[in-house]
Amino acid sequence: MSPRFEPVTGRYLNTTLLGKPHRLYVEEAGKGIPLLCLHTAGSDTRQYRGLMNDARVTDNFRVIAFDMPWHGKSSPPPGWQEEEYKLTSRDYVRMIVDVADALALDKPVGMGCSIGGRIVLHLAHEHPERFRALIGLESAAHTAPYYDLSWLNRPDVHGGMVSAGVVSGLVAPTAPLAERWETLWHYMQSGPGVFKGDLHFYNIDGDIRDRVDQIDIKRCPLYLLTGEYDYSCTSEATLDIARRTGAPATIMKGLGHFPMSEDPAKFVGYLLPVLEKIRASA
């Protein structure tokens, strides 16, 4: 019997980001228009496993995802022990543009979820010429913290367990159990303080409410997809972006904050029409 490998390839990319050498883990599957996928805070590329294994997506799109520095199989940069990890808008935007360049991607489609859904708004605002289209999953222009973030990184609380605990309710209650717990496992595996460091962007530095009106979807089409059960990036917050930019938005029934990971089969049903529109305009 031949080995049952998935049609997914994982490799390490050597590149310089923000002036430091990095060894980034990159996965990809499929061929066609590059679709650069951004994972959520405190998680990694495994969130896109469903897309990478769905021929309806990979027949026409080269799905690429990278573990951000500090996440998944991408280590922090040398000297990390001397600093506290805190993701900023400036660094996050720079990282995505530089990774796209290092991968030699020609006008990729950018798609991100949660912090990724926020940063696509920054990319739409600052670098519309770099992307064929942008897809925001669980996009909100700002989310204020609703619990004390210091619980996420302290020696007397297991950081992985508390991170999974705070996000568990964001998964739709109807999600398949295996996918729900796979999604939570990624959070349980996160390095100390990494989820908290990402939330510095999500809850504080990444606030883009004052610039949403300046996003020009004629320069780069923007599509918004948000799960109805997401109480962090709410439907109302996504619809507000849609109203202010003219970007089409769909509220996805039976999905929460991690649509591509908590219920990939259901999510692809919402994603395919968006991908078809992007392909039709190519």
Binding site: Y146, W151, D156, M161, G165, V166, G169, Y231
Partner: protein, 121 residues
């Protein structure tokens, strides 16, 4: 409804395993009615209704009866599926020494949601 917490938690060997290091008393308030819930080694011991003069507990979860009733439905309506959804909407107040709660968050979420199983019967 609240008494069913003991029944369902103590019948769930896996939940007890996950909470095996929990030893605390927490307060659950439905409107102005307080209950002290004692947990030892992941098992629910006593659930004592108030009123109390000097209640001794680590953390408290307070919400209205209408909120708890929605939260305890087998498939709660949007916005009532999780304690953090309630906290964010200011429908629930969590106060006191939160360490036992946050250090065992997945466990306590399942303990608090146990009455959904009673609703589903």
């Amino acid at each position: 409804m609240i008494d069913s917490i003991a029944k369902y938690v103590n019948a769930d060997a896996n939940l007890i395993r996950r909470g095996r290091y929990v030893a605390t008393t927490f307060l659950l308030a439905i409107d102005d009615t307080d209950y002290l819930i004692r947990i030892d080694e992941g098992r629910v011991g006593t659930i004592t209704p108030g009123p109390f003069i000097t209640p001794n507990y680590s953390f408290a979860l307070r919400a209205s009866r209408a909120t708890w009733e929605k939260f305890w439905q087998p498939l709660p309506p949007l916005g009532f599926t999780d304690v953090f959804a309630l906290i964010k909407q200011k429908l629930m107040r969590v106060e006191g020494d939160l360490h036992p709660f946050m250090a065992n968050l997945l466990y306590f979420k399942d303990v608090i949601a146990a009455p959904r199983k009673e609703s589903a019967r």
